[in-house]
């Protein structure tokens, strides 16, 4: 079964407005991104080797999409694959843990009781049923599936040490641009240490985040642009998900208007806010940016 079909046919997700559990039907932006992934990697091979760097506007559903992919692979795998998510703060970590767990339980509940949504919802909170699915379940930390030993665990980047030990099939850094530097370890050290838990050239490593100024995420973004690291950088601005009317409402919610391009960027360039006042006239730069061209020739001629 294809991963997208498995997710959409079986997984329930908490609705962003009502919190009710509803079928996880991909939004347009999620479908577009998924199509890109299928083009650049192999869906049949569980996106093996994916190295993704996703810069996006807020609440476009990238975390849920990747959690869904991780859990679908966990269900389908014959092996005890292990996935990890590092989030930027404790409450997000717990929320994502529960979301991933809901994906698993809704899948098995549907197998048990069929397509009736109410019946599925009743079953996924049944303790006896949960014991059948999970070999172990430590709330907010790790669950292990009973049928194949696959596991998913979560961590928060604010802890004093990064993840280093062991091997994982995939790691998701959620809002990694917002990982804090502690006095003991920097955000970048957490990321570098953790991503090396994925064996070179295999598995999945994903960074997805809104921007946060000129920090390690911007450096990584620029390196990916220059081809200095093996990540594919993707940009999904507000126009990918929101209508102009919705965007106007979003803007009205910001008292600090300068933050709008960071949280809901239109271009990747404007997402990375500077710490000081821009030196050049921004409208002039926008005009220049609108008129940049692709080189007719590029490269090194004497090599």
């Amino acid at each position: 079964m294809k991963i997208r079909d498995l997710i959409q046919d079986n997984f329930l997700i908490d609705h962003p407005e009502t919190s009710a559990l509803v079928p996880f039907i991909f939004r347009d932006v999620q479908n577009r991104y998924y199509d890109i992934l299928c083009k650049d990697y192999s869906e049949e091979n569980s996106f093996e080797g994916a190295r993704e760097l996703d810069l996006k506007a807020r609440k476009e559903g990238f975390t849920s999409l990747w959690l869904g992919i991780f859990e679908a692979i966990s269900i389908l795998s014959f092996n005890s694959v292990r996935f990890l998510e590092i989030s930027y703060k404790d409450d997000a970590t717990l929320q994502h843990y529960r979301r991933a767990k809901n994906f698993i339980t809704s899948y098995f509940a549907k197998k048990e009781v069929g397509n009736n949504l109410e019946d599925i919802k009743k079953l996924i909170f049944d303790k006896q049923f949960l014991k059948k699915i999970f070999y172990s379940d430590n709330e907010g930390q790790e669950f292990v599936l009973g049928h194949n030993g696959a596991s998913f665990y979560v961590g928060t980047a604010s802890t004093k040490t990064g993840e280093r030990g062991g091997t994982v099939k995939g790691v998701l850094f959620t809002e990694s641009a917002h990982f804090p530097d502690s006095g003991i370890i920097s955000a970048n050290e957490i990321i570098e240490g953790t991503q090396n838990m994925v064996t070179v050239g295999t598995g999945i490593i994903v960074h997805e985040s809104t921007a946060n100024g000129f920090n390690h995420f911007k450096t990584r973004w620029d390196q990916a642009t220059l081809g200095e690291i093996n990540y594919k950088n993707r940009f999904f601005g507000w126009r990918e998900f929101y209508t102009p009317e919705q965007f106007e409402m979003i803007k009205m919610g910001f008292s600090d208007k300068r933050k709008i391009p960071q949280e809901y960027p239109e271009t990747a360039e404007e997402a990375f806010l500077t710490s000081g006042q821009p030196y050049f006239d921004q409208l002039a730069l926008k005009c220049y940016m609108d008129n940049v061209q692709q080189p007719i020739k590029e490269g090194t001629i004497y090599e």
């Binding site: 000129f214 920090n215 911007k218 450096t219 642009t225 220059l226 081809g227 360039e269 404007e270 990375f272 500077t274 710490s275 000081g276 006042q277 821009p278 030196y279 050049f280 006239d281 002039a284 730069l285 005009c287 220049y288 940016m289 008129n291 940049v292 061209q293 080189p295 007719i296 020739k297 590029e298 490269g299 090194t300 001629i301 004497y302």
Partner: protein
Amino acid sequence: MNKWRQYRQIERGEFFLIGGDCSQGGKDFNACQFMSKTKLDIPLVYHSRGVAAQMTREIFPIIEKIFDITEIKPMVALETANGGASEMDTLNVLNRLSKYSLFKMPSIGKTESPESKILGYVTSGGTRPILVGDGKNSIDGKIVRIYDKPTIKEMYAFIINKQGKPEAEIGANDDLVMSFNIVWQLYQICKIPDTKLQPAMRIMSPNLDPYSTYV
């Protein structure tokens, strides 16, 4: 990223100004903006990591080829910091065929201005505000056509810091911005030479592929 980015063909009769910012290696970049004073645009950009000597080695044959095409000697100025002064001397030694001119830093702010003998653009406490401020006026006024996206991206990250000094954001580079500022100074200072005085030298540089269509 490629070291050279060319945005249009270069034509006979164009006067080129070449402004460069040198690097001492590491994460810093060498950058050179090739501006056509005739067309008021920047059709060619050099941008590469490495030390200044590497840039000299790579831009030298291109500068000569620009003369071969335009038949007008381009004017070259590297910022003297970060090894730029010695690279200007190297370019002076290499200029055996006299295919380009080297910029001599004028005295700024003096009532008596003896002819300068310093090759390259000297950035100091006195000249930097002029260099950077004039560049801003040019950009804000949208005077020059710039096709190069990395240059504009660097300009977005050029800020006024908390002390009020214009500079690159922490973690950002300003090599393309500063090389633009230098080439804009050349634009303001250097006049288009009288082409009748320029001998149309047909001698090709020995290390240049004469069949290359580059530049």
